[in-house]
């Protein structure tokens, strides 16, 4: 392992992914240092969601690899081959990665508290009492302690997404992955979700956030990554990428969204 990658919490190298004839990722390299926030921007269809899903092996790779905290995700090296891990092992790896979906994907037949308890009990074997206590702490943290007994569909979109973030945190993951966490929300509800994510950023959680919120990127990101056509066009601190973009495609994108 090179000295550069040893410092990375998430290391993406030469990742390729195609769906049929469409090559969605065309050789992605990305390093995320521990405790930093990486915001991925780009037009729709640029491959940013696919990249995020590749990090926790919701998408299989065609080439390249992903390491989290030094561990290969979804594969193990056998000689000069990367052999896909059995599903059981992949599931175990995913407990170290929190994933927050655009559409929340809360379990509608379980209460808010049960949503948070399900994975720690079912995947990690934590005792029910401990999982409950931890879940209540997390609900407190996202400001929804009074909703523990509610069913998700009785909550607003913003509240549901905050529950989903708490659910991802319940596994105490090393990295949190956000796939357009505010894109399904009414405009007035975006702020409460971004506030929770900002709060997590302040406490030093390693995060990769795919989003269209440029203001959020400017405020919270340590690194902004701009993707287009399945490649990383440019990356750097927000002041550089957002205010002084070097590439024409970045400039064109920012001109449209700002």
């Amino acid at each position: 392992m090179s000295s550069e990658s040893a410092t990375a919490m998430v290391e993406v190298r030469g990742v390729h992914k195609r769906f049929g004839r469409l090559e969605v990722l065309r050789g992605i390299d990305l390093d995320v240092r521990p405790g930093t926030v990486t915001v991925v921007l780009g037009p729709s269809g640029s491959g940013k969601s696919t990249l995020l899903r590749a990090v926790n092996h919701l998408e299989k790779l065609d080439r390249g690899y992903v390491r989290v905290d030094g561990e290969l995700i979804g594969y193990r090296q056998v000689g000069d081959k990367l052999r896909e891990l059995p599903e059981r092992e992949v599931l175990k790896q995913r407990t170290r990665l929190g994933f927050v979906f655009q559409n929340f994907n809360l379990f509608p037949h379980l209460t808010v508290l049960e949503n948070l308890v399900e994975a720690p009990v079912g995947a990690l074997g934590v005792s029910k009492e401990r999982a409950r206590a931890r879940a209540l702490e997390l609900l407190e943290r996202v400001g929804l302690a009074d909703k523990a007994a509610e069913y998700p569909r009785r909550l607003s979109g913003g509240q549901q997404q905050r529950v989903a973030i708490a659910r991802a945190l319940a596994l105490e993951p090393k990295v949190l992955l956000f796939d357009e966490p505010t894109s399904a929300l009414d405009p007035e509800l975006v702020g409460e979700v971004l506030d929770v994510i900002k709060d997590l950023a302040r406490t030093g959680t390693t995060m990769i956030v795919v989003t269209h919120e440029i203001g959020f990127a400017r405020e919270v990101a340590d690194t902004v990554v701009f993707m287009d056509g399945g490649v990383v066009v440019e990356q750097g601190p927000p002041a550089q990428v957002l205010d002084d973009p070097q590439h024409e495609r970045t400039r064109a994108f920012l001109a449209k969204v700002l």
Partner: protein, 315 residues
Amino acid sequence: MTALTPEQALPLRQPADSVQELRIVPHRRPWRLVAGLAALVLAAQFLHGLAVNPGWDWPTFRTFVFSDSILRAVGVTLQLTAYGTVLGFALGAVIAALRLSGSPILRTIAWTYVWAFRSIPLIVQLVFWFNLAYLYKRIGIGVPFGPTFASFGTMDLLGALGAAVLGLALHQAAYAAEIIRGGVLAVDAGQLEAAAALGIPRFRQAWRIVLPQAMRGILPNAANEVISLFKGTSIVYVMAIGELFYQVQVIYGRTGRVVPLLMVATVWYVLLTTALSLVQYYVERYFARGSERHAPPTPWQRLRAAVTESKEKRA
């Protein structure tokens, strides 16, 4: 439009606050009342006929409706329904899982099963199982194409009742498989993705996340199937098994009183179907928890609410 005289147009010219005081009258529907009354007359005529037409022969009905032989036959019918449902849905769940699996071989086998058992009429299947001993005199356990460790005479293993249960269950499994598969497919793909992203083990994903949500789609169809199986058990009369319909036929063959005995069977079928519908109502309510639409109060809850309300009014 003809021009209005100032007097006719007056109400519209009145100031707004007095317009508010105008009485609102709903649109009258006199024909609805006429149609309702006509339907009531027809219903009354039918009920009157039931009561006074001697052809219904209610004394004979009363003699047989709770007789030992009928009660035993109801027991057999319920037994056939229970075994058919439990075995049918258990096998159906397995077949549905195979059809949803990643293996093309298993998927094809499951598809073929459903195709075959839905294509052959139930009555043909039943008679076929009844005659299984003609094809296979002994059934054994052993290595496929290899030695046999133990074997049993087919007729000992599979009596008439066994053949009926086997036939009903295998037939039911084909339909149950499709119902279960439909329910599972209706669950949002994001649910499985979320469960996978949380690292929840595969079996727990199916049992805790997918099935409870699939149940909402499965239950109404499954209840239909159970009820139709319950009445469908009458088809096994062809195998001379003493279920309700067979027993009724035996009695009216002896006494010649066809109509009252058909009523005996009808009343039992209706009563027990009603009981099954009630069970369905409450089970569906259970699986509707967390859904967008609020579950309405049960009749029992409504009654209790009405009682407490009237008490409060009096107090």
